[in-house]
């Protein structure tokens, strides 16, 4: 029995340290206080401020998944990021240890890294049916090959993803954008013209790696809603 407990703890340490004392981020609980947009932005800003400097300089890529706070009768943009306790990172350890130190006091947050080193932060209980949707073939036109926002749009628009969204009744906020497009140019970051047999989650990993940033995925179960956005060093400097 003790061995099993130790294996469980060891697995948690190696495969995904659970930070903080536990407890759910009960975003879909009707008793959860509504998070104001300014509070949501403050949390995102704090996370990026602490996380960006300790991400590997050569990689600068990661994923953040969060259980969003959504008013039950609204498809607001953006979904609200839950209030969590994040702290300045330790800088003495490994990249992963330093990142974990940011979320040490955050309820229901876990930090893991896959074998390529891509860091994943999970906050709360995240519905991921959409993310696990397998896409047979995904084509990127010149626009979506060279522009991460367009690439995210192409991934979300894949017929398989749209089909699953319709089947399980999940929508996206009506998110508008106006964005000058990077023209296809040799040497600039870009995706291949086509990828095959990937999950939506894996395709989003490619976006994070290709453009060197953090792809956020937030979702609510009530109402069934999700949103995806990308943040990098420029986002941190300019958006807030």
């Amino acid at each position: 029995m003790y061995m099993r407990v130790w294996i469980t703890v060891f697995s948690a340490l190696v495969l995904g340290t659970v930070c903080g004392p536990g407890g759910a981020v009960s975003a879909d609980d009707p008793t959860t206080p509504i998070v104001l947009p300014v509070e949501s932005n403050d949390t995102i800003r704090a996370i990026l401020k602490y996380l960006w400097p300790v991400l590997s300089p050569t990689r600068k890529a990661g994923r953040i998944y969060y259980q969003a706070v959504c008013p039950p009768d609204a498809h607001n943009y953006p979904l609200m990021f839950p209030k969590i306790d994040v702290r300045p990172p330790s800088v003495a350890g490994t990249e992963l240890a330093n990142i974990r130190s940011i979320f040490l006091h955050a309820k229901s947050a876990s930090v893991t890294a896959d074998k390529t080193g891509l860091v994943r932060v999970r906050i709360g209980k995240i519905p991921d049916t959409i993310l696990q949707t397998r896409i047979a073939t995904l084509s990127f036109d010149a626009d979506s090959q060279f522009n991460y926002l367009s690439a995210i749009g192409a991934i979300e628009s894949a017929p398989e993803v749209q089909s699953v969204m319709a089947t399980i009744g999940v929508g996206v906020p009506a998110r508008v954008y106006h964005y000058g497009l990077v023209q296809p140019t040799s040497g600039l970051p870009h995706l291949p013209a086509q990828i095959a047999d990937v999950t939506m989650d894996q395709a989003l990993d490619m976006v994070a790696r290709t453009w060197g940033g953090i792809v956020f995925y937030g979702a609510c179960t009530v109402p069934g809603t999700y949103e995806i956005f990308f943040a990098d060093g420029y986002f941190l400097d300019s958006r807030f």
């Binding site: 522009n147 749009g153 929508g171 906020p173 009506a174 106006h178 000058g180 420029y234 300019s238």
Partner: protein
């Protein structure tokens, strides 16, 4: 009648954008803007970039302040929804620009208005994206 040497307006100085074309892709459109000088002559040479400013900024994802290199004096602007919307929306914003040429910034006279509408339809929401000239 006299002129001050050097005071002539450089014909390469950017002054405005005009809409050169657009392509509708359903939930979004790509508009092409052409950079012009003060006489309305297209500037097609190298070395130009431009940054957009969307107002109000918090109603959309935008590239406010990011200088984008122009291609033959043209800027491609993706206008619309990130993905097929599943909720209603009616967003109206104005768009202005600052161009950069040979190390100098130039506020362009052009003001565009964007309107992005998503209204209920079955099986898909009906989307309209438009860009109109408020000030040339």
């Amino acid at each position: 009648v006299f002129s001050i040497p050097g005071a002539e307006v450089d014909p390469n100085v950017p002054a405005s954008f005009s809409i050169a074309g657009s392509v509708d892709y359903g939930f979004y459109s790509i508009y092409t803007y052409q950079l012009n000088n003060a006489n309305g002559t297209p500037l097609t040479g190298p070395g130009y970039s431009a940054a957009e400013y969307i107002s109000p900024a918090d109603t959309s994802i935008n590239a406010n302040g990011i200088q984008m290199p122009l291609n033959n004096g043209q800027l491609s602007d993706r206008v619309g929804f990130v993905s097929p919307p599943t909720a209603p929306a009616n967003v109206v914003v104005t768009q202005t620009f600052t161009a950069l040429y040979q190390g100098y910034f130039y506020d362009l006279s052009t003001v565009f208005q964007h309107q992005n509408i998503s209204s209920y339809g079955s099986p898909y929401y009906i989307v309209t994206n438009s860009v109109t000239v408020i000030n040339p």
